[in-house]
Amino acid sequence: MTKPKTAKTAKAKKTARAAKAAKTVNRTIKVDALARVEGEGALYVRVKDDAIQDVRFRIFEPPRFFEAFLKGRIYSDAPDITARICGICPIAYQMGAIQAMEQALGVTVTGPLRDLRRLIYCGEWIESHVLHAAMLHAPDFLGLEDALQLAKDDPEVVKTALELKKLGNRILEVVGGRATHPINMKVGGFYKAPRKREVRELIDPLKWAIDASIRLTKVFAGFDFPADEHDYTCVALRHPDEYAIHEGRIVSSNGLDIAVAEFPEHFTEEHVEHSNALHGMTMDGDIYLVGPNARYNLNYAQLSDLAKQTAKDAGLGPVCNNLFKSILVRMVETLYACEEALRIAESYEEPDESSVEVIPGAGVGAGCTEAPRGICFHRYELDDEGRILTARIQAPTSQNQPQIEIDLRRIVENNLHLPEERLKWRCEQTIRNYDPCISCATHFLDLQIERV
């Protein structure tokens, strides 16, 4: 039996960095588990005779206080409370909660108010996708440590990305009142409809953004993508009239086609021993994929002609089962979101009323939207006064987690010949393919490969 060998861990490197830093600022800096990051990832792999015995991807997620926080609160508090779950995709949480409440209370939002919802969601897609693709994911393909290196090597890419991201922010500010934890959305519509002038001012920047996203897609298409394909079971929203972003039915590549409210009958989540995060799966125990590639694979036909052409030029077919190329899919979706935002901005007229009337009462409702990382499901039960009796929120990252484990197992299996550092890099890259809401965790990734 050979002696167990542990890879030089990220932690060891960090300790060295911390020691160096400590010298400079004259204090010890410890970088163990940090509590307020949205998660910390650790990957454990056991290999015996060049065969994998065990792969465990662990996420420490803060306990789910939010569902408990919501109990007893009035229905209208839910959007602003759930917006706090994530600083990167507050709109996803707000809108899921809003739609669930509207279903529970029998409210439908249409016309310009519905357009504004799609517009603000486009803003969130733009800023989240660009941040991930350009600042967090692209450096992986260039062999660069981080976006700072990228800024030195190719400042134009970074400047373009920052400008695009800023426009996403601006959309959130105009429609949502502010970019950080927007405050303007409510059950029934908006507190205040944005001024026509402010929305129209988005038009020119959006025209620039369409070109800019095509340019970035071209740059990223030149990357060297690891060959890796998997037959994913994709799950996404689908809408009859548009590439689904903020509403639709839930469909899968296995032919599932259900109303959002039926989600709990078909999908579950499970506590697994090695992770605090809940792992999502279908009722039959099948593992599935949500997010950009799932949407693209299921709803390609509904993309705009320009988005399809850009995808084609980037080497993507109508189906993309190599998640390393998710960076391209994110950029195609960014482009589409810019086109959609432009279309809405060009035709925007201030509505007479900024919201429809909501009468509190008892009910049960579900809502689901396509967060940048994939479907985000909400369900609430309300009492006679409209207070929350139960809340259930299923975030995309927990749904993807079992699929991430499967991808990691395959990647490790196919790359065991790589030196430890290269293998670790490839694993981190695999996790970043998902833009997990633990993207903060990916640099804390503590990879242990035990060879027995």
Partner: protein
């Protein structure tokens, strides 16, 4: 703290610490002071001061954020792209607990008016007693 500074004529912004928003917020400004929580195993309530124009910001120093691209990355990125304000001073307050929904611990709470006082001094507007 923000309210107190506003009352003294300092323009303040509360941000969630996402790096690109920080860069947008300070770009083109003359004098910027940034306040954040620090976690370096020091005594809770300890006040740190760093001149970000003069010195690099270590990645792990301000790691109380849930963002991968956060304060340190934003400062260094802005340095590379020449988008730093003319003056950028960072005040960090050593925290004690970082859980959800918890209030400031007494040591940290005590540090807040002191940091506000030092910010006003920094900006050449001595606090009134």
């Amino acid at each position: 703290m923000a309210d107190e500074l506003e009352a003294r004529g300092v323009r303040t912004l509360e941000l969630d610490g996402e790096g690109t928003r920080l860069m947008n917020a300070w770009q083109g400004e003359d004098r910027v002071v940034l306040v954040d929580a620090v976690r370096s195993d020091g005594r809770p309530g300890t006040i740190h001061r760093l001149d970000a124009i003069k010195g690099r910001v270590r990645k792990n120093w301000l790691r109380c954020s849930s963002h991968e691209f956060a304060v340190a990355e934003a400062v260094e990125m802005a340095r590379i792209l020449e988008r730093l304000p003319q003056s950028l001073v960072i005040f960090g307050i050593e925290g004690k607990s970082y859980g959800y929904g918890e209030k400031l611990t007494p040591n940290v709470k005590q540090a807040v008016p002191e940091v506000a006082r030092r910010i006003l001094l920094e900006l050449g507007s001595p606090p009134q007693n």
